[in-house]
Each structure stands twice: as structure tokens, then as C-alpha cells.
């Protein structure tokens, strides 16, 4: 009886780990998840605050150049890995003429982590020297519009016309390859 119970418990643990893997890692492929604005739609226009100088800006103010909006929490290890990945790839985005805005989710999703500037400096020290990178802090409406389910590490590629071209709710670190191949395939039409 005890043996049986132990087997059930271990089976439950294995299933839980499998669920984490499939929901957590393999979400990158396929159609847009329901909580994200659809690809092809106009990017929702809400405000954020640039961390460097406290200026308030709207998403629409970024129109005219393609932009990557990446939503993070600064206590999140996966986002830290994403920063390391961004650190290694920021020149790629620069060469493609893409701005990158790393945005701390509203109130860091309810748990206070490091300030976004410190977070970026710790894990992606090179990016701040690139003119196409800026970090920012999200207002409630922006987080609600782009990440209403409160997932970590989601990003959007918005074309110069202000429409969403590509999006992913998998981590930036795990899906950088997909993002780059999408950008390469869109080259010229961004």
C-alpha cells in the first residue's frame, strides 16, 4: 500500500515537472496566446516611464522605427538570463535598426526587486552604451494591455507602422533564435 502511494507521489511529481516544461518552455511556438494582443493588431498605446530620466512616453511615440518591447520583473532569474542574452545580441538589433525597450512590469508584478537600471547594469552591462536600448517602467494600463495574465518575460516586436509584427510569451533567452530568424525573414518590411 505504502509502495503504491509512493509510486503515485513520484508519478505526480514527474507529471508536474513535465507540465512545467511543456507550459513553460514550449509555449513559444504556435498562435498568439489569448492574453496577448494579436499579431497584426495596432500596438496598444499606453504610457511608460523611461528609467534614465523619468520622462513619460507612450508606445505610439516609438512609431517610425521597429521596436522590441520586452516586459520583465527584476527579481526573475529567467529575465536575468534574457538580459545576458540581450547583452550578447544588442549589436544585432542595432544593425537591424531595431530599438529595444526593456520594461519593468507594473510594480514588478507585486514583489519589489532591484531598480530596472541596476538590473540591466548587473546582467547586461554593454547594452546601456547602445543608443537603441532604453529601460523603462510600466504603468498599470500598459502591463494590463500587453500582459494581463502577469506572465514573466514576454515580448513584442512592433513594426515602424505601430503594428505588432511578432510576439512571444516564452522567455527571451530561450527564444532569441526564433526572434532573430523572424527578423531576418522580415528584413526590409519592418
Amino acid at each position: 500500500m505504502q509502495k503504491k502511494r509512493t509510486v503515485y507521489v513520484f508519478a505526480a511529481i514527474v507529471i508536474a515537472i513535465a507540465l512545467v516544461y511543456f507550459f513553460g518552455i514550449n509555449r513559444s511556438a504556435g498562435a498568439s496566446p489569448s492574453f496577448m494582443p494579436a499579431v497584426g493588431a495596432k500596438a496598444p498605446d499606453y504610457s511608460f516611464i523611461y528609467a534614465s530620466n523619468g520622462t513619460v512616453a507612450n508606445v505610439s511615440s516609438l512609431n517610425g522605427k521597429p521596436v522590441l518591447l520586452w516586459f520583465v520583473a527584476t527579481w526573475c532569474s529567467g529575465c536575468a538570463v534574457g538580459n545576458e542574452m540581450l547583452n550578447d545580441n544588442i549589436s544585432y538589433f542595432k544593425n537591424k535598426g531595431i530599438n529595444v525597450i526593456e520594461i519593468e512590469l507594473y510594480r514588478d508584478l507585486g514583489y519589489s526587486g532591484a531598480p530596472i537600471n541596476t538590473f540591466v547594469n548587473d546582467y547586461a552591462p554593454n547594452v546601456t552604451s547602445y543608443s537603441n536600448f532604453r529601460s523603462a517602467i510600466s504603468g498599470y494600463n500598459l502591463s494590463l494591455a500587453y500582459d494581463k495574465d502577469g506572465y514573466l518575460d514576454v515580448y513584442y516586436l512592433i513594426g515602424s507602422n505601430g503594428k505588432i509584427v511578432y510576439e512571444n510569451d516564452g522567455s527571451l533567452a530561450a527564444t532569441m533564435k526564433n526572434l532573430k530568424s523572424k527578423i531576418n525573414s522580415l528584413s526590409g518590411s519592418l
Partner: protein, 172 residues
């Protein structure tokens, strides 16, 4: 092997060492398997990166994996020995399983969609879902507490198994 049950030092380091000598192949196999398991899981989720930083989180993963795997291997090897040799209709000791679950909570529950998905299922999108960090961030920042808790549970599990070897009739 039977001598362990009569040994007065069954709960001491010597007693444990004597059992491990007899079970060393099994112990080393469990240790290697558990170490690889923990190391792969912790590395995969970059366990402790946001807490300890790039320079030190590798050591945190290594130390956690080593501590947990050595205790888990001890717990399994001694637990199996106690069950095989002296256990008779005694209630199972589940602290090893609890320890396993506790040790994996912070790495698998933080920074994955599990907690946000549960909150959305219960409370809907927005609002509370946008505060899922209150749970995830706490799991991330207090992960060492979970590791220590898991280690203590494993230690308890080992103690119980060793007690059974000493007193086969005990209800421990």
C-alpha cells in the same frame, strides 16, 4: 549487516558510515543520480541567479545540488536498508518525499507560467494576476530557506530510518 541493529552507535556517524560501507555501490548510484537531477533542474531554471548574481549563483546551484543529493542518497539507501531488514508493518516515512517536493518548489514555481495560470484560473486576468510576483518573487528570494527545509526533512528521514534499524518494533 545484522550487527548494525544491535550496535549501540547506530545513530552516530560511525553507525551510519558502517551502513554506507555495506551499501556503498547503492549509495554512490543514488548520489550520482540525484546530483545530476538537481544540477540539471537548477541550472535549467537558472536557480538563484537573480538572488546571488552571475558570479556566485553557480556555487549556489553546486552547493544546493551537492547537499540535497548527498542527504537524499543517504535517506534512500538507509531507508531501503531499514525496510528490507527490520521493518514490519511500520507506517511509511514520507519526509523524504516531502523534502523532494520542497526542494523543487522555488526553482519550478518561480518564473514559470504555473502560478500566473493558477491565479488567472481563480481570479481572472488583470488585478491579482498582475501581482503574481508576490508569490513568485518571494519563492525566488527565499529559495535558500526551501533548500534548508528540504535538507532538514531529509535529515529527519535518515534519523527515522536509523531508529528503525535500532528498534525494529518502534512505531517511528
Amino acid at each position: 549487516m545484522n550487527g548494525y541493529a544491535q550496535s549501540s552507535s547506530f545513530e552516530t556517524l560511525e553507525g551510519t558510515t558502517a551502513i554506507l560501507k555495506a551499501l556503498k555501490v547503492r549509495f554512490l548510484t543514488f548520489f550520482a543520480a540525484m546530483f545530476i537531477f538537481y544540477y540539471v533542474i537548477f541550472s535549467y531554471f537558472s536557480f538563484g541567479l537573480a538572488l546571488f548574481g552571475i558570479k556566485y549563483y553557480f556555487y549556489y546551484i553546486l552547493a544546493s545540488s551537492f547537499t540535497l543529493s548527498i542527504l537524499a542518497a543517504l535517506s534512500i539507501a538507509i531507508g531501503l536498508y531499514s525496510q528490507k531488514t527490520v521493518r514490519n508493518n511500520v507506517k511509511g516515512n514520507r519526509s523524504g518525499i516531502y523534502a523532494f517536493v520542497v526542494s523543487l518548489v522555488p526553482s519550478t514555481m518561480c518564473c514559470t507560467p504555473i502560478i500566473p495560470s493558477i491565479l488567472v484560473a481563480v481570479f481572472g486576468s488583470g488585478g491579482i494576476a498582475l501581482a503574481s510576483g508576490a508569490i513568485q518573487g518571494a519563492l525566488s528570494n527565499f529559495s535558500p530557506v526551501f533548500i534548508v527545509m528540504a535538507a532538514l526533512l531529509l535529515y529527519y528521514s535518515i534519523r527515522v530510518s536509523l531508529k528503525r534499524i535500532k528498534k525494529p518494533s518502534c512505531e517511528c
